[in-house]
């Protein structure tokens, strides 16, 4: 037995149709105005905001990367500069040392030369002095000889010659 006893779900009823349409249209209006439109707007706003934030983050990251590359480049350059400077300083030092050495040598040579010169002149002075003294002594000797033993001419001559000889040798 299969009878559509009260199968009114399949019968369109004007009353229910009226209420359904009325309630649905009011619901549609209210939801659209107070709920769905504001939510959709807010979601769009937020979506844009998130997209912007992501774009900004990407940009910032790129910027950062650029800055980092620049930094490392600068560091590299600075390092090269430093080693170059170090090298130059070393060379400079060596040069200064070498120059100083040369100068010192020259100075020393000069001092030595001067000393030699001085020695030479001193020697000359001394020799002159010695000669003077010798000639004085010779004079004294001669005086003495002349004064004492003028009797023996031969012996005196010999003696005189010996004296002269000795003087020349010294």
């Amino acid at each position: 037995m299969f009878v559509l006893a009260e199968f009114n779900v399949l019968r369109p009823e004007p009353g229910l149709l009226f209420w359904s349409i009325l309630i649905f249209v009011i619901f549609w209006y209210l939801m659209s105005k107070f709920a769905f439109r504001p939510i959709a707007q807010a979601l769009i706003k937020r979506e844009n905001h998130i997209q912007d934030a992501l774009n900004d983050a990407k940009k910032a990251k790129d910027e950062l990367r650029k800055i980092q590359t620049e930094n490392s480049k600068l560091m590299e350059e600075a390092r090269a500069e430093r080693s170059k400077m170090l090298k130059e300083a070393k060379e400079h030092r060596n040069q200064i040392v070498a120059e100083a050495r040369v100068a010192a040598k020259e100075e020393a040579n000069k001092i030595v030369a001067q000393a030699n010169q001085e020695i030479e002149s001193l020697k000359k002075t001394a020799l002159l002095d010695v000669k003077n003294q010798v000639s004085n002594i010779a004079l004294e000797v001669a005086e003495k000889v002349i004064q004492k033993k003028l009797s023996d001419d031969a012996g005196q001559m010999e003696y005189l010659n010996d004296l002269v000889k000795d003087i020349n040798l010294s």
């Binding site: 019968r11 009353g15 149709l17």
Partner: protein
Amino acid sequence: MYMNRIFRLSKIVFLAVILLGINSHRLLAQDHEEGGHDDHTEAHHGEAGAHEDGEHVAEFDPANTAFHHISDQNVYSLGFADIPLPCFFYSKSDGWNVFMSSKFGIGHHGNGHYAVDGYVLVESIARRINDESFPKGKIELGEHPYVFEYVTVDGKEKEKVSLSYEGKLYPLENKSTLDGGLMGGGLTSFYDFSPTKNVVSLLLMVLLLFFVFRKIARRYNEDAYRAPKGIQSFMEPIFIFIQDEVAKPFLGHRWQKFLPFLMCLFFLILALNLYGQIPFFGNANVTGNLTFTMALALVTFFVVNLNGKKDYWMHVLWMPGVPVFVKPILTVVEILGLFIKPLTLMLRLAANLTAGHMIIVIFVSLLFIFNDAGQNMIGSVPGLALSVPLTMFMMALELLVALVQAFVFTILTASYIGAAIEEHH
């Protein structure tokens, strides 16, 4: 420990029996606890002529139970209580009659104890005595006043309900329906404009959705950039899913204009589908009611066609790109299509939901089929063993159907609107 487990199991089974017992007592139309001699037994086996089996008195009819269960009613029945609803009746002879359905004196099965101004309540549904000789005002009826019989009209079996009052049988008329007799209805002597169980359920869901989404919208309005919280974070993915998977692909750059409409359809259908699923909560079958889906389909029809662009109407009326002799044929097909599209929307949703509800009722009814409507307690065992898992399975399936049907209705509506507003360049 073993005993403990058995004890727990028996407790669960006992609870299930009690729950189903309560359910059957109030919700099922055919209940035979009163010695198998209530209105329905009389209907089927007392005065009924056409189907007299006469073998055993307490026959349980799950089909009728299901039909009764899913129908719209003038009473909101919660199982343990009947909440009366306002009644707005209009008849040509009497004009408007407005009163609460509690005036009927809602009794067992939603059968009224009183007739009010020529209206009576039969199985929670108002009917009218189309007989001027019946007294107006509140009239007390006798015991078992309603007489059910099956008559054959034009080769079709039809249930005929009459009122037995002071020895006289008054035929009762159903409210007017717009099916033109196609579904066993038709225009009768009165119209029912009452906010029925379905209307009340619809209102409840509309208010719930409005307050929930208003709350969510307020949070967005306060600060759109704030992270979602609570109900907002629950609804937002669903909202974005419908927005991105339904509105945007079908509607192109004009998606914002139709978004609220699609959202209304989706959330309202989903809410009503799920609300109808809650056991002991009236089980309102709003989205399974053809009238309600017709209302949605009508609105959809107008939204689609009022927004139709030139290209759309060109395609409907004079299809470009086909030979001239084909064009009139296509015009006929396309114009039919204009109406068939919302018609399929209407039928699909109603049929799916109604079928689901009916199957659940029938699976629950298995228990009463097996135990002969409470007369054969041993039969309860296989009845329970079948009905509980099957009902649970069906309810799980119905949860899925609730979502899928709401989604399908929305996506098809979106595609129809999308076809109407599409502009070719």
